[in-house]
Symmetry: C2
Protein backbone atom coordinates (compact mmCIF):
# COMPACT_ATOMS: atom_id res chain seq x y z
CA UNK A 1 0.00 0.00 0.00
CA UNK A 2 1.24 3.41 -0.96
CA UNK A 3 0.38 6.26 1.41
CA UNK A 4 0.68 9.80 0.12
CA UNK A 5 0.59 13.06 2.07
CA UNK A 6 -0.89 15.74 -0.14
CA UNK A 7 -2.03 19.33 -0.27
CA UNK A 8 -4.09 20.68 -3.15
CA UNK A 9 -3.08 21.33 -6.73
CA UNK A 10 0.56 20.15 -6.60
CA UNK A 11 -0.33 17.17 -4.47
CA UNK A 12 -3.22 16.18 -6.70
CA UNK A 13 -0.89 16.13 -9.71
CA UNK A 14 1.41 13.49 -8.28
CA UNK A 15 -1.47 11.55 -6.72
CA UNK A 16 -3.16 11.36 -10.10
CA UNK A 17 0.07 9.96 -11.57
CA UNK A 18 -0.11 7.04 -9.13
CA UNK A 19 -3.89 6.70 -9.33
CA UNK A 20 -4.48 6.97 -13.07
CA UNK A 21 -1.25 5.08 -13.79
CA UNK A 22 -2.55 2.19 -11.66
CA UNK A 23 0.76 2.05 -9.87
CA UNK A 24 -0.50 0.96 -6.47
CA UNK A 25 -2.61 -2.06 -5.60
CA UNK A 26 -3.82 0.08 -2.73
CA UNK A 27 -3.49 3.85 -2.56
CA UNK A 28 -4.30 5.98 0.46
CA UNK A 29 -4.03 9.74 0.37
CA UNK A 30 -3.87 11.70 3.62
CA UNK A 31 -5.16 15.10 2.65
CA UNK A 32 -4.45 18.43 4.27
CA UNK A 33 -7.42 20.07 5.94
CA UNK A 34 -5.46 22.96 7.43
CA UNK A 35 -6.70 25.02 4.50
CA UNK A 36 -10.35 24.33 5.35
CA UNK A 37 -12.52 27.33 5.96
CA UNK A 38 -15.97 28.18 7.18
CA UNK A 39 -17.36 30.62 4.67
CA UNK A 40 -20.94 31.88 4.78
CA UNK A 41 -21.60 29.13 7.30
CA UNK A 42 -20.39 26.41 4.93
CA UNK A 43 -17.48 24.06 5.60
CA UNK A 44 -15.15 24.19 2.63
CA UNK A 45 -12.22 21.78 2.18
CA UNK A 46 -10.31 23.14 -0.82
CA UNK A 47 -7.47 20.59 -0.78
CA UNK A 48 -9.72 17.55 -0.38
CA UNK A 49 -12.03 18.85 -3.10
CA UNK A 50 -9.15 19.52 -5.46
CA UNK A 51 -7.96 15.94 -5.02
CA UNK A 52 -11.41 14.44 -5.63
CA UNK A 53 -12.14 16.72 -8.58
CA UNK A 54 -8.72 15.99 -10.09
CA UNK A 55 -8.82 12.21 -9.67
CA UNK A 56 -12.34 12.06 -11.10
CA UNK A 57 -11.31 14.12 -14.12
CA UNK A 58 -13.82 16.84 -13.26
CA UNK A 59 -11.40 19.52 -12.15
CA UNK A 60 -11.15 22.75 -14.10
CA UNK A 61 -7.90 22.07 -15.96
CA UNK A 62 -6.91 25.72 -16.32
CA UNK A 63 -7.37 26.77 -12.71
CA UNK A 64 -6.43 23.42 -11.21
CA UNK A 65 -9.28 23.76 -8.68
CA UNK A 66 -13.08 23.85 -8.88
CA UNK A 67 -15.18 22.04 -11.44
CA UNK A 68 -14.71 22.34 -15.18
CA UNK A 69 -17.40 24.41 -16.87
CA UNK A 70 -18.91 25.54 -13.59
CA UNK A 71 -21.01 28.71 -13.47
CA UNK A 72 -20.99 31.39 -10.77
CA UNK A 73 -24.63 32.50 -10.49
CA UNK A 74 -24.94 32.03 -6.75
CA UNK A 75 -21.71 33.90 -6.09
CA UNK A 76 -22.86 36.78 -8.30
CA UNK A 77 -26.14 36.93 -6.39
CA UNK A 78 -24.29 36.77 -3.05
CA UNK A 79 -22.24 39.75 -4.16
CA UNK A 80 -25.43 41.73 -4.82
CA UNK A 81 -26.69 40.79 -1.35
CA UNK A 82 -23.52 42.28 0.11
CA UNK A 83 -22.25 38.91 1.33
CA UNK A 84 -18.56 38.08 1.37
CA UNK A 85 -17.65 36.93 -2.08
CA UNK A 86 -13.86 36.78 -2.06
CA UNK A 87 -13.75 33.01 -1.97
CA UNK A 88 -14.69 31.77 -5.45
CA UNK A 89 -17.55 29.30 -5.27
CA UNK A 90 -18.90 27.78 -8.46
CA UNK A 91 -22.54 26.72 -8.53
CA UNK A 92 -21.82 22.99 -8.82
CA UNK A 93 -18.87 23.25 -6.47
CA UNK A 94 -21.20 24.93 -3.97
CA UNK A 95 -23.35 21.80 -3.95
CA UNK A 96 -20.36 19.93 -2.48
CA UNK A 97 -20.04 22.47 0.33
CA UNK A 98 -23.77 22.65 1.11
CA UNK A 99 -24.01 18.86 1.12
CA UNK A 100 -20.87 18.40 3.23
CA UNK A 101 -21.99 21.05 5.73
CA UNK A 102 -25.41 19.47 6.13
CA UNK A 103 -23.91 16.01 6.71
CA UNK A 104 -21.40 17.38 9.25
CA UNK A 105 -24.30 19.15 11.00
CA UNK A 106 -26.05 15.78 11.17
CA UNK A 107 -23.04 14.46 13.08
CA UNK A 108 -21.06 12.62 10.39
CA UNK A 109 -17.29 12.90 10.55
CA UNK A 110 -15.35 14.60 7.79
CA UNK A 111 -13.70 11.22 7.14
CA UNK A 112 -17.10 9.67 6.44
CA UNK A 113 -18.31 12.60 4.33
CA UNK A 114 -15.09 12.43 2.30
CA UNK A 115 -15.54 8.68 1.80
CA UNK A 116 -19.04 9.30 0.44
CA UNK A 117 -17.79 12.10 -1.77
CA UNK A 118 -15.15 9.81 -3.29
CA UNK A 119 -17.84 7.20 -3.89
CA UNK A 120 -20.15 9.66 -5.66
CA UNK A 121 -17.29 10.95 -7.82
CA UNK A 122 -16.12 7.43 -8.59
CA UNK A 123 -12.72 7.94 -6.94
CA UNK A 124 -11.53 4.48 -5.98
CA UNK A 125 -8.49 5.22 -3.85
CA UNK A 126 -8.87 6.16 -0.22
CA UNK A 127 -8.76 9.85 0.66
CA UNK A 128 -8.46 10.54 4.38
CA UNK A 129 -8.64 14.00 5.93
CA UNK A 130 -5.61 14.36 8.22
CA UNK A 131 -8.04 14.88 11.13
CA UNK A 132 -11.77 15.29 11.69
CA UNK A 133 -11.15 18.40 13.78
CA UNK A 134 -11.39 21.86 12.21
CA UNK A 135 -7.87 23.29 12.65
CA UNK A 136 -7.37 26.10 10.13
CA UNK A 137 -3.83 27.27 9.55
CA UNK A 138 -3.12 30.84 10.62
CA UNK A 139 -0.76 33.15 8.78
CA UNK A 140 0.64 35.86 11.05
CA UNK A 141 1.46 38.79 8.78
CA UNK A 142 2.43 42.42 8.99
CA UNK A 143 -1.29 43.29 8.81
CA UNK A 144 -2.26 40.80 11.53
CA UNK A 145 -3.19 37.14 11.84
CA UNK A 146 -5.11 35.85 8.84
CA UNK A 147 -6.92 32.64 8.07
CA UNK A 148 -4.86 30.83 5.45
CA UNK A 149 -7.49 31.40 2.76
CA UNK A 150 -7.74 35.08 3.65
CA UNK A 151 -4.00 35.26 3.05
CA UNK A 152 -4.04 33.19 -0.14
CA UNK A 153 -7.23 34.32 -1.80
CA UNK A 154 -8.48 37.55 -0.27
CA UNK A 155 -5.05 39.16 0.20
CA UNK A 156 -3.42 37.34 -2.74
CA UNK A 157 -0.29 36.48 -0.67
CA UNK A 158 0.70 40.15 -0.50
CA UNK A 159 1.15 40.81 3.24
CA UNK A 160 4.59 39.91 4.54
CA UNK A 161 4.59 36.77 6.67
CA UNK A 162 5.98 36.71 10.20
CA UNK A 163 4.90 33.27 11.32
CA UNK A 164 2.73 30.31 10.34
CA UNK A 165 0.73 28.66 13.11
CA UNK A 166 -1.62 25.70 13.47
CA UNK A 167 -3.76 26.84 16.39
CA UNK A 168 -5.58 24.09 18.24
CA UNK A 169 -3.78 21.33 16.38
CA UNK A 170 -2.24 19.97 19.60
CA UNK A 171 -5.76 19.07 20.74
CA UNK A 172 -6.66 17.43 17.43
CA UNK A 173 -5.93 13.84 16.59
CA UNK A 174 -5.57 11.85 13.41
CA UNK A 175 -8.46 9.54 12.63
CA UNK A 176 -7.94 5.83 13.32
CA UNK A 177 -7.83 5.27 9.56
CA UNK A 178 -4.92 7.72 9.17
CA UNK A 179 -2.81 6.03 11.85
CA UNK A 180 -3.62 2.56 10.51
CA UNK A 181 -2.76 3.50 6.95
CA UNK A 182 0.70 4.76 7.94
CA UNK A 183 1.31 1.55 9.92
CA UNK A 184 0.30 -0.61 6.96
CA UNK A 185 2.09 1.40 4.27
CA UNK A 186 4.86 -0.12 2.19
CA UNK A 187 6.03 3.35 1.24
CA UNK A 188 5.04 6.87 2.32
CA UNK A 189 5.32 9.66 -0.22
CA UNK A 190 5.22 13.38 0.60
CA UNK A 191 3.88 15.11 -2.48
CA UNK A 192 5.57 18.22 -3.91
CA UNK A 193 3.23 20.34 -1.81
CA UNK A 194 3.94 23.43 0.23
CA UNK A 195 5.88 22.42 3.38
CA UNK A 196 4.21 25.03 5.59
CA UNK A 197 0.57 25.10 4.54
CA UNK A 198 0.05 21.68 2.94
CA UNK A 199 2.42 19.10 4.43
CA UNK A 200 3.17 21.06 7.64
CA UNK A 201 -0.36 20.85 9.05
CA UNK A 202 -0.52 17.10 8.38
CA UNK A 203 2.77 16.57 10.21
CA UNK A 204 1.56 18.76 13.10
CA UNK A 205 -1.42 16.54 13.89
CA UNK A 206 -0.35 14.75 17.09
CA UNK A 207 0.92 11.27 16.35
CA UNK A 208 1.53 11.57 12.61
CA UNK A 209 5.12 12.80 12.71
CA UNK A 210 6.11 10.25 15.36
CA UNK A 211 4.42 7.53 13.29
CA UNK A 212 6.65 8.55 10.38
CA UNK A 213 9.76 8.59 12.58
CA UNK A 214 8.96 5.14 13.92
CA UNK A 215 8.04 3.31 10.73
CA UNK A 216 10.61 1.14 8.93
CA UNK A 217 9.20 1.63 5.42
CA UNK A 218 10.82 4.16 3.12
CA UNK A 219 9.57 7.72 3.35
CA UNK A 220 10.05 9.74 0.20
CA UNK A 221 9.56 13.48 -0.38
CA UNK A 222 9.38 15.18 -3.75
CA UNK A 223 10.76 18.70 -3.82
CA UNK A 224 8.18 21.44 -4.41
CA UNK A 225 11.05 23.81 -5.15
CA UNK A 226 12.79 23.52 -8.52
CA UNK A 227 15.55 25.82 -9.69
CA UNK A 228 14.89 28.26 -6.86
CA UNK A 229 11.20 28.62 -7.57
CA UNK A 230 7.98 27.06 -6.39
CA UNK A 231 6.19 25.21 -9.16
CA UNK A 232 2.89 26.58 -7.88
CA UNK A 233 1.77 28.84 -5.07
CA UNK A 234 3.64 30.81 -2.43
CA UNK A 235 6.15 28.18 -1.21
CA UNK A 236 9.18 30.19 -2.36
CA UNK A 237 7.81 33.41 -0.89
CA UNK A 238 7.08 31.68 2.41
CA UNK A 239 10.54 30.11 2.64
CA UNK A 240 12.10 33.48 2.01
CA UNK A 241 9.93 35.48 4.39
CA UNK A 242 10.37 32.90 7.14
CA UNK A 243 14.15 33.07 6.81
CA UNK A 244 14.95 29.89 4.87
CA UNK A 245 16.97 29.56 1.68
CA UNK A 246 14.64 29.10 -1.27
CA UNK A 247 16.15 25.72 -2.02
CA UNK A 248 15.25 22.03 -2.07
CA UNK A 249 17.77 21.67 0.72
CA UNK A 250 15.52 23.68 3.03
CA UNK A 251 12.65 21.32 2.23
CA UNK A 252 14.77 18.24 2.91
CA UNK A 253 15.91 19.73 6.21
CA UNK A 254 12.31 20.34 7.32
CA UNK A 255 11.68 16.59 6.95
CA UNK A 256 15.15 15.32 7.94
CA UNK A 257 14.03 13.71 11.20
CA UNK A 258 12.04 11.03 9.34
CA UNK A 259 12.93 11.27 5.64
CA UNK A 260 14.66 8.40 3.82
CA UNK A 261 14.64 9.50 0.18
CA UNK A 262 14.51 12.98 -1.35
CA UNK A 263 13.48 13.37 -4.99
CA UNK A 264 15.49 16.24 -6.42
CA UNK A 265 14.78 17.72 -9.81
CA UNK A 266 17.43 17.36 -12.54
CA UNK A 267 17.83 21.14 -12.56
CA UNK A 268 19.01 21.01 -8.94
CA UNK A 269 21.42 18.08 -9.18
CA UNK A 270 24.18 20.29 -7.81
CA UNK A 271 22.48 20.14 -4.40
CA UNK A 272 22.73 16.35 -4.17
CA UNK A 273 25.71 16.32 -1.84
CA UNK A 274 24.39 18.80 0.70
CA UNK A 275 21.16 16.84 1.05
CA UNK A 276 23.01 13.52 1.25
CA UNK A 277 25.06 15.06 4.06
CA UNK A 278 21.86 15.05 6.16
CA UNK A 279 21.83 11.26 5.85
CA UNK A 280 19.08 11.33 3.25
CA UNK A 281 19.28 9.30 0.05
CA UNK A 282 18.82 11.50 -3.04
CA UNK A 283 17.27 10.51 -6.35
CA UNK A 284 17.48 12.91 -9.26
CA UNK A 285 14.47 12.87 -11.56
CA UNK A 286 12.52 15.12 -13.86
CA UNK A 287 9.89 16.26 -11.37
CA UNK A 288 8.07 18.91 -13.38
CA UNK A 289 4.63 17.64 -14.40
CA UNK A 290 2.63 19.28 -17.15
CA UNK A 291 0.69 16.45 -18.75
CA UNK A 292 -0.88 13.28 -17.41
CA UNK A 293 1.93 11.17 -18.99
CA UNK A 294 4.42 13.40 -17.08
CA UNK A 295 2.59 12.62 -13.84
CA UNK A 296 2.48 8.89 -14.46
CA UNK A 297 6.14 8.88 -15.52
CA UNK A 298 7.23 10.67 -12.35
CA UNK A 299 5.17 8.27 -10.22
CA UNK A 300 6.76 5.29 -11.97
CA UNK A 301 10.25 6.76 -11.64
CA UNK A 302 9.76 7.33 -7.92
CA UNK A 303 8.78 3.71 -7.40
CA UNK A 304 11.70 2.51 -9.50
CA UNK A 305 14.18 4.60 -7.52
CA UNK A 306 13.32 3.05 -4.15
Amino acid sequence: MIVMLAGGIGGAKLVSGFYLGNLASELTVIGNTGDDLKFLGLRICPDLDTIVYTLSGKVDPKRGWGLEGDSFSTLDALKILGAQDWFRLGDRDLATHVWRSSLLAEGLTLTEVTRRMCQVFGVECRLLPMTDTYVPTEIVTEIGALHLQEYLVRERCRPKIRQIRYPGIEESKPSVAVEESICKASVVILCPSNPFISIGPILAVPGIRSCLRDTDVPIVAVSPIVAGKALKGPAAKMLEQLGYDVSPTSIARLYSDFLDVFILDERDEILRAEIEDMGIKVQVLNTVMYTLPDKIALARDILKSL
Copy 2:
Protein backbone atom coordinates in the same frame (compact mmCIF):
# COMPACT_ATOMS: atom_id res chain seq x y z
CA MET B 1 -50.70 52.97 7.64
CA ILE B 2 -52.00 49.85 6.00
CA VAL B 3 -51.02 46.56 7.59
CA MET B 4 -51.43 43.40 5.54
CA LEU B 5 -51.23 39.79 6.69
CA ALA B 6 -49.90 37.71 3.82
CA GLY B 7 -48.76 34.26 2.81
CA GLY B 8 -46.89 33.62 -0.42
CA ILE B 9 -48.11 33.78 -3.98
CA GLY B 10 -51.75 34.86 -3.36
CA GLY B 11 -50.71 37.29 -0.67
CA ALA B 12 -47.95 38.79 -2.78
CA LYS B 13 -50.47 39.51 -5.55
CA LEU B 14 -52.66 41.73 -3.42
CA VAL B 15 -49.69 43.28 -1.63
CA SER B 16 -48.20 44.26 -4.98
CA GLY B 17 -51.52 45.92 -5.90
CA PHE B 18 -51.17 48.21 -2.88
CA TYR B 19 -47.41 48.61 -3.21
CA LEU B 20 -47.05 49.22 -6.94
CA GLY B 21 -50.32 51.20 -7.01
CA ASN B 22 -48.87 53.54 -4.35
CA LEU B 23 -52.08 53.21 -2.37
CA ALA B 24 -50.60 53.53 1.11
CA SER B 25 -48.44 56.28 2.53
CA GLU B 26 -47.06 53.55 4.75
CA LEU B 27 -47.39 49.85 4.05
CA THR B 28 -46.39 47.09 6.45
CA VAL B 29 -46.69 43.45 5.51
CA ILE B 30 -46.67 40.80 8.23
CA GLY B 31 -45.44 37.72 6.43
CA ASN B 32 -46.07 34.11 7.29
CA THR B 33 -43.02 32.16 8.38
CA GLY B 34 -44.89 28.98 9.26
CA ASP B 35 -43.86 27.65 5.87
CA ASP B 36 -40.15 28.17 6.65
CA LEU B 37 -37.95 25.14 6.43
CA LYS B 38 -34.45 24.06 7.22
CA PHE B 39 -33.22 22.27 4.14
CA LEU B 40 -29.65 21.04 3.77
CA GLY B 41 -28.85 23.15 6.80
CA LEU B 42 -30.17 26.33 5.19
CA ARG B 43 -33.02 28.45 6.53
CA ILE B 44 -35.51 28.98 3.75
CA CYS B 45 -38.46 31.41 4.04
CA PRO B 46 -40.54 30.75 0.93
CA ASP B 47 -43.37 33.19 1.71
CA LEU B 48 -41.08 36.08 2.67
CA ASP B 49 -38.94 35.46 -0.41
CA THR B 50 -41.96 35.32 -2.69
CA ILE B 51 -43.11 38.69 -1.38
CA VAL B 52 -39.68 40.32 -1.82
CA TYR B 53 -39.14 38.78 -5.25
CA THR B 54 -42.64 39.81 -6.36
CA LEU B 55 -42.51 43.40 -5.09
CA SER B 56 -39.08 43.90 -6.65
CA GLY B 57 -40.28 42.58 -10.00
CA LYS B 58 -37.74 39.75 -9.92
CA VAL B 59 -40.11 36.85 -9.33
CA ASP B 60 -40.49 34.15 -11.95
CA PRO B 61 -43.84 35.22 -13.41
CA LYS B 62 -44.88 31.74 -14.54
CA ARG B 63 -44.20 29.88 -11.29
CA GLY B 64 -45.05 32.81 -9.01
CA TRP B 65 -42.03 31.93 -6.81
CA GLY B 66 -38.26 31.92 -7.24
CA LEU B 67 -36.30 34.29 -9.43
CA GLU B 68 -36.99 34.84 -13.10
CA GLY B 69 -34.41 33.23 -15.37
CA ASP B 70 -32.70 31.40 -12.53
CA SER B 71 -30.61 28.31 -13.25
CA PHE B 72 -30.49 25.08 -11.24
CA SER B 73 -26.85 23.96 -11.44
CA THR B 74 -26.33 23.57 -7.70
CA LEU B 75 -29.53 21.56 -7.31
CA ASP B 76 -28.52 19.28 -10.17
CA ALA B 77 -25.14 18.73 -8.53
CA LEU B 78 -26.79 18.10 -5.15
CA LYS B 79 -28.93 15.44 -6.78
CA ILE B 80 -25.80 13.68 -8.06
CA LEU B 81 -24.34 13.81 -4.55
CA GLY B 82 -27.42 12.01 -3.28
CA ALA B 83 -28.60 14.98 -1.25
CA GLN B 84 -32.27 15.75 -0.83
CA ASP B 85 -33.38 17.65 -3.88
CA TRP B 86 -37.17 17.77 -3.62
CA PHE B 87 -37.23 21.43 -2.66
CA ARG B 88 -36.50 23.44 -5.79
CA LEU B 89 -33.59 25.83 -5.23
CA GLY B 90 -32.43 28.05 -8.05
CA ASP B 91 -28.80 29.14 -8.08
CA ARG B 92 -29.50 32.82 -7.48
CA ASP B 93 -32.32 32.01 -5.07
CA LEU B 94 -29.85 29.82 -3.16
CA ALA B 95 -27.69 32.88 -2.55
CA THR B 96 -30.58 34.35 -0.53
CA HIS B 97 -30.75 31.22 1.64
CA VAL B 98 -26.99 30.89 2.14
CA TRP B 99 -26.73 34.58 3.00
CA ARG B 100 -29.73 34.52 5.34
CA SER B 101 -28.49 31.39 7.09
CA SER B 102 -25.06 32.85 7.65
CA LEU B 103 -26.50 36.08 9.10
CA LEU B 104 -28.85 34.15 11.39
CA ALA B 105 -25.88 32.04 12.51
CA GLU B 106 -24.10 35.30 13.35
CA GLY B 107 -26.98 36.13 15.68
CA LEU B 108 -29.09 38.52 13.61
CA THR B 109 -32.87 38.18 13.91
CA LEU B 110 -34.97 37.12 10.95
CA THR B 111 -36.64 40.55 11.19
CA GLU B 112 -33.28 42.26 10.67
CA VAL B 113 -32.20 39.90 7.88
CA THR B 114 -35.53 40.50 6.12
CA ARG B 115 -35.09 44.27 6.47
CA ARG B 116 -31.68 44.01 4.82
CA MET B 117 -33.07 41.78 2.10
CA CYS B 118 -35.79 44.34 1.29
CA GLN B 119 -33.12 47.03 1.16
CA VAL B 120 -30.94 45.07 -1.27
CA PHE B 121 -33.93 44.28 -3.49
CA GLY B 122 -35.13 47.87 -3.38
CA VAL B 123 -38.43 46.97 -1.69
CA GLU B 124 -39.56 50.10 0.10
CA CYS B 125 -42.46 48.86 2.19
CA ARG B 126 -41.88 47.13 5.49
CA LEU B 127 -41.94 43.33 5.50
CA LEU B 128 -42.02 41.81 8.97
CA PRO B 129 -41.77 38.09 9.68
CA MET B 130 -44.66 37.18 11.99
CA THR B 131 -42.06 36.02 14.56
CA ASP B 132 -38.32 35.54 14.80
CA THR B 133 -38.81 32.02 16.15
CA TYR B 134 -38.69 29.02 13.82
CA VAL B 135 -42.17 27.49 14.11
CA PRO B 136 -42.84 25.32 11.06
CA THR B 137 -46.42 24.28 10.44
CA GLU B 138 -47.09 20.55 10.69
CA ILE B 139 -49.56 18.70 8.53
CA VAL B 140 -50.83 15.54 10.18
CA THR B 141 -51.80 13.19 7.36
CA GLU B 142 -52.78 9.60 6.80
CA ILE B 143 -49.08 8.83 6.19
CA GLY B 144 -47.91 10.64 9.34
CA ALA B 145 -46.98 14.14 10.44
CA LEU B 146 -45.23 16.12 7.70
CA HIS B 147 -43.46 19.44 7.59
CA LEU B 148 -45.66 21.77 5.56
CA GLN B 149 -43.20 21.85 2.67
CA GLU B 150 -42.91 18.07 2.68
CA TYR B 151 -46.68 18.00 2.28
CA LEU B 152 -46.82 20.75 -0.34
CA VAL B 153 -43.74 20.05 -2.41
CA ARG B 154 -42.41 16.57 -1.74
CA GLU B 155 -45.82 14.86 -1.45
CA ARG B 156 -47.62 17.30 -3.79
CA CYS B 157 -50.60 17.63 -1.41
CA ARG B 158 -51.62 14.02 -2.01
CA PRO B 159 -51.84 12.51 1.52
CA LYS B 160 -55.20 13.05 3.19
CA ILE B 161 -55.04 15.62 5.97
CA ARG B 162 -56.22 14.86 9.50
CA GLN B 163 -55.05 17.96 11.31
CA ILE B 164 -52.93 21.08 10.90
CA ARG B 165 -50.76 22.07 13.85
CA TYR B 166 -48.40 24.88 14.74
CA PRO B 167 -46.07 23.12 17.19
CA GLY B 168 -44.14 25.39 19.51
CA ILE B 169 -46.03 28.48 18.44
CA GLU B 170 -47.37 29.06 21.98
CA GLU B 171 -43.79 29.71 23.07
CA SER B 172 -43.07 32.07 20.18
CA LYS B 173 -43.81 35.75 20.24
CA PRO B 174 -44.36 38.42 17.64
CA SER B 175 -41.53 40.88 17.24
CA VAL B 176 -42.00 44.32 18.79
CA ALA B 177 -42.32 45.71 15.26
CA VAL B 178 -45.26 43.41 14.50
CA GLU B 179 -47.19 44.42 17.59
CA GLU B 180 -46.45 48.09 17.05
CA SER B 181 -47.53 47.99 13.43
CA ILE B 182 -50.93 46.51 14.30
CA CYS B 183 -51.41 49.17 17.01
CA LYS B 184 -50.57 51.97 14.57
CA ALA B 185 -52.54 50.60 11.60
CA SER B 186 -55.42 52.54 10.11
CA VAL B 187 -56.67 49.37 8.44
CA VAL B 188 -55.62 45.70 8.62
CA ILE B 189 -56.07 43.56 5.53
CA LEU B 190 -55.94 39.77 5.47
CA CYS B 191 -54.78 38.80 1.99
CA PRO B 192 -56.58 36.09 -0.02
CA SER B 193 -54.12 33.57 1.41
CA ASN B 194 -54.72 30.07 2.73
CA PRO B 195 -56.47 30.33 6.14
CA PHE B 196 -54.66 27.29 7.59
CA ILE B 197 -51.10 27.51 6.32
CA SER B 198 -50.66 31.22 5.52
CA ILE B 199 -52.92 33.35 7.71
CA GLY B 200 -53.48 30.70 10.42
CA PRO B 201 -49.87 30.60 11.63
CA ILE B 202 -49.73 34.41 11.83
CA LEU B 203 -52.93 34.48 13.93
CA ALA B 204 -51.54 31.71 16.15
CA VAL B 205 -48.50 33.70 17.26
CA PRO B 206 -49.37 34.71 20.84
CA GLY B 207 -50.68 38.24 20.99
CA ILE B 208 -51.51 38.81 17.33
CA ARG B 209 -55.10 37.54 17.36
CA SER B 210 -55.90 39.41 20.57
CA CYS B 211 -54.34 42.54 19.08
CA LEU B 212 -56.74 42.20 16.15
CA ARG B 213 -59.72 41.62 18.48
CA ASP B 214 -58.83 44.68 20.52
CA THR B 215 -58.09 47.21 17.79
CA ASP B 216 -60.75 49.70 16.70
CA VAL B 217 -59.58 50.05 13.11
CA PRO B 218 -61.33 48.09 10.36
CA ILE B 219 -60.08 44.58 9.70
CA VAL B 220 -60.78 43.35 6.22
CA ALA B 221 -60.34 39.86 4.76
CA VAL B 222 -60.35 38.96 1.08
CA SER B 223 -61.76 35.54 0.29
CA PRO B 224 -59.24 33.04 -1.07
CA ILE B 225 -62.17 30.86 -2.17
CA VAL B 226 -64.11 31.92 -5.26
CA ALA B 227 -66.97 29.90 -6.76
CA GLY B 228 -66.15 26.88 -4.61
CA LYS B 229 -62.48 26.75 -5.61
CA ALA B 230 -59.18 28.02 -4.30
CA LEU B 231 -57.56 30.48 -6.66
CA LYS B 232 -54.20 28.90 -5.95
CA GLY B 233 -52.91 26.05 -3.81
CA PRO B 234 -54.62 23.52 -1.57
CA ALA B 235 -57.05 25.77 0.38
CA ALA B 236 -60.15 24.05 -1.03
CA LYS B 237 -58.71 20.58 -0.41
CA MET B 238 -57.76 21.53 3.15
CA LEU B 239 -61.18 22.97 3.94
CA GLU B 240 -62.81 19.81 2.65
CA GLN B 241 -60.50 17.33 4.37
CA LEU B 242 -60.76 19.21 7.66
CA GLY B 243 -64.56 19.06 7.53
CA TYR B 244 -65.46 22.60 6.43
CA ASP B 245 -67.68 23.64 3.53
CA VAL B 246 -65.54 24.80 0.62
CA SER B 247 -67.07 28.24 0.77
CA PRO B 248 -66.15 31.85 1.51
CA THR B 249 -68.51 31.54 4.47
CA SER B 250 -66.13 29.08 6.11
CA ILE B 251 -63.30 31.59 5.68
CA ALA B 252 -65.34 34.41 7.19
CA ARG B 253 -66.29 32.18 10.13
CA LEU B 254 -62.60 31.37 10.85
CA TYR B 255 -62.01 35.11 11.30
CA SER B 256 -65.39 36.08 12.77
CA ASP B 257 -64.06 36.92 16.24
CA PHE B 258 -62.19 39.96 14.91
CA LEU B 259 -63.31 40.57 11.32
CA ASP B 260 -65.15 43.77 10.32
CA VAL B 261 -65.36 43.54 6.53
CA PHE B 262 -65.32 40.52 4.24
CA ILE B 263 -64.54 40.96 0.56
CA LEU B 264 -66.64 38.49 -1.38
CA ASP B 265 -66.14 37.82 -5.05
CA GLU B 266 -68.95 38.77 -7.45
CA ARG B 267 -69.38 35.10 -8.31
CA ASP B 268 -70.33 34.38 -4.68
CA GLU B 269 -72.76 37.26 -4.08
CA ILE B 270 -75.44 34.76 -3.09
CA LEU B 271 -73.52 34.14 0.15
CA ARG B 272 -73.72 37.76 1.26
CA ALA B 273 -76.57 37.24 3.73
CA GLU B 274 -75.09 34.25 5.54
CA ILE B 275 -71.84 36.12 6.12
CA GLU B 276 -73.65 39.28 7.20
CA ASP B 277 -75.53 37.11 9.71
CA MET B 278 -72.22 36.67 11.53
CA GLY B 279 -72.19 40.45 12.09
CA ILE B 280 -69.61 41.00 9.38
CA LYS B 281 -70.00 43.73 6.74
CA VAL B 282 -69.71 42.29 3.22
CA GLN B 283 -68.39 44.02 0.12
CA VAL B 284 -68.80 42.36 -3.23
CA LEU B 285 -65.91 42.94 -5.67
CA ASN B 286 -64.13 41.30 -8.53
CA THR B 287 -61.34 39.65 -6.54
CA VAL B 288 -59.69 37.55 -9.21
CA MET B 289 -56.30 39.06 -10.12
CA TYR B 290 -54.46 38.10 -13.28
CA THR B 291 -52.62 41.25 -14.32
CA LEU B 292 -50.95 44.03 -12.39
CA PRO B 293 -53.85 46.42 -13.27
CA ASP B 294 -56.21 43.80 -11.76
CA LYS B 295 -54.18 43.82 -8.55
CA ILE B 296 -54.09 47.60 -8.32
CA ALA B 297 -57.82 47.82 -9.12
CA LEU B 298 -58.72 45.36 -6.37
CA ALA B 299 -56.51 47.20 -3.88
CA ARG B 300 -58.20 50.49 -4.80
CA ASP B 301 -61.69 48.96 -4.61
CA ILE B 302 -60.96 47.54 -1.16
CA LEU B 303 -59.92 50.96 0.15
CA LYS B 304 -62.98 52.59 -1.45
CA SER B 305 -65.33 50.06 0.16
CA LEU B 306 -64.28 50.82 3.74
